[in-house]
Symmetry: C2
Subunit: 434 residues, 2 copies
Amino acid sequence: MRITDLRIHSIAIADPPLRSSYGLHAPYALRTIVELESDEGVIGITETYGGEAQVRQFESLRPQILGANPYRLTGFLSPMVEGQGGGDARSQTYLVPGENPLDATTRTYAALEVACLDLIGKTVGQPVCDLIGGRVREEVPFSAYPFYKHAGGGGEGDDAREDAYGEALSPEALVRQVRQMVARYGFGSVKFKGGVLEPDIEIETIKQLYQTFGPGVPLRIDPNSAWTAETSVKAGCALAEELGRGGYLEDPTAGLENMAEVRRRLLAQGITTPLASNVAVTSFADLPRSVKLDAVQILLCDHHYWGGMRQVQHLARLARTFGLGLSMHSNTHLGVSLMGMAHVAAATAHLTYACDTHYPWQSAKDEVVAGGRVPIVNGCVRIPDQPGLGVVLDYDQLARGVERYRKCRYRKRDDEAEMRRRVDPNWRRVLPRW
Amino acid sequence: MRITDLRIHSIAIADPPLRSSYGLHAPYALRTIVELESDEGVIGITETYGGEAQVRQFESLRPQILGANPYRLTGFLSPMVEGQGGGDARSQTYLVPGENPLDATTRTYAALEVACLDLIGKTVGQPVCDLIGGRVREEVPFSAYPFYKHAGGGGEGDDAREDAYGEALSPEALVRQVRQMVARYGFGSVKFKGGVLEPDIEIETIKQLYQTFGPGVPLRIDPNSAWTAETSVKAGCALAEELGRGGYLEDPTAGLENMAEVRRRLLAQGITTPLASNVAVTSFADLPRSVKLDAVQILLCDHHYWGGMRQVQHLARLARTFGLGLSMHSNTHLGVSLMGMAHVAAATAHLTYACDTHYPWQSAKDEVVAGGRVPIVNGCVRIPDQPGLGVVLDYDQLARGVERYRKCRYRKRDDEAEMRRRVDPNWRRVLPRW
């Protein structure tokens, strides 16, 4: 079996004006859909970060991809994740996921690995999770992922999307948003994006979520490094009960040293709420120091930038070995990525938390998966019986996404610039802010 | 695809009277060959530790194996390596590999994983290394593995094997043995089994090997925990030059604390010869403490007891992350195991040393692989173009091995008892001995 064609599709998808410490989501998020076609006419697909730099990465590998056996391409390209420097990208606190040049190679490798696995799975009639060790679960749990947001559903002009959730810039509005998400998708846990309003308001938001949903729904807050160690400790203490019931405090502050200080000070007060990270720890190279300092107790994997599904499985084994939990990070994505996340999660024994997903923020109008949006039922994505990722492309929808990309102004993600453009011309990302 | 038959074959293979700190190899080593046959009539094979306990383990899983999809069986059984206690077996200094009850489940899982991968590979026409991420090398380097030994080629009575190597109980005889092995197989490095004679004699043996083969042939010595920390430091100092050129000092002393002490004292004298282990560290559970103490700088993987090929790949990623080297342990084995070792090594980027193998000690008369012994050329096993492991069984040879097992007295490995039976009725394994 040989790969005979590589097709790269840059698409834009409507994204609501979500807020985080990085700034504001633009009206369009960028994604790249890649197809690998084999000489048997089977097509493997993948979805990853968007924009021009990502396309250039794929294009630069075209000579190696064309003609390759998809079973071997991942070995041949493995220096991208295992070689000198490969997989050793250091975390970059200031850049949004997908825009850190230090993990460009692991991101590109990851996307190709998934496309190869989908191609292999569709060729031999087996789901991807069963190609990488076999499923350990049939259903993969995801979390509700509420954001403070401005009014609006994403997209611009004729292409503007309906806003199912409305403005949410207060604790009460945030709780309402989560209620909607839980009603619609059945989520059993909540990951709340903080780092946007005054810490006291965010603490109050978590308290209201806890009052609303009770101790059976684990809560997490992720201020994306917006806080000082002092504020982080204060929040950790204030929310000991609310986050302590199977939840966690994610990247409250920047850097391993500050995270370790927060951990030490919380433990000194008897508060065992674990700290999670996808900012202080984003690569294997960050782990020895993190382990040594006990800076992070829960790793957030994400096959999109950790170097693919097998690297995530390696990470899970490492986490289990060192007594760390494993959760999963998400970036704005469509159904192809969601299925990739579900498959690797299904084949990873030591996944100890429900995964993050931005999927509720996207719209059926943008979905490129044939048959429409992937169902999330009772908070879970079920591994389908279909081979590979279990989804194929809707080429009309893909063409619409490509056309949207062609017309929109965005070629990379820059939440800070977007914040200045639409909310506050003087806004800058300041860390720590509080 | 479903597994429709499980066939378990206990075999005995002639083994020369090799010495180690465990005692003496018996005239027969025990192995188990397992076949999984699919409803398409394809047969996947595996080789692992022998004896009755191993057979019972496989038999106990028969209900789960029969009817299973080989792509999914490894996921279904993954609690054996990833579940509570699974993969967390602690090292057991006093037991020979394959006889530690604490890793019985990981050994059994590993064997089944390899059989499933062979079955899948033979079904889809792909080599095993390309099913687990893809080869990163076409040829896998192995080391010469000289032992002090008594005269004799293994086997008993009519079944006694010719002794190609003769007695070797002095430095000179050991060097002659290595010359023979290097001439025959082209090995480019030497792993020497020590812990048998007085340390000064073993040091002299390494010095003579170094004089004979020069600094271009990395040397290792493995006394299997026979030494005190003091003796280990003395040997490390005496052999700083000889082991320092790409070699290592393997398990000179027992326990992580002693290993860490040896490391500290060698470093204090400016000697950076790394310490390797497959005794102080035999499972993931041993790693946090080993890393913390800097007790071991090179991990010896072995898919047979670490829980299979994918667990070895996880281990390799962990090793690379924490700046540890990776080599490969061997137990007495035939060609099916050799090919398993070669495939996982071929698909593991961070394998930083040539692998161990006992293969030169076995004879063509015992080989169960069709076509005879697997070639080792220039010290390397080349990944064949054939699918799966690249080898199939010779059923006449297998039947001979089964008959030999039926007739021989051995049902488990016990080098200490064998030492008492044939060399010294009062011999006991004493650690440390020197």
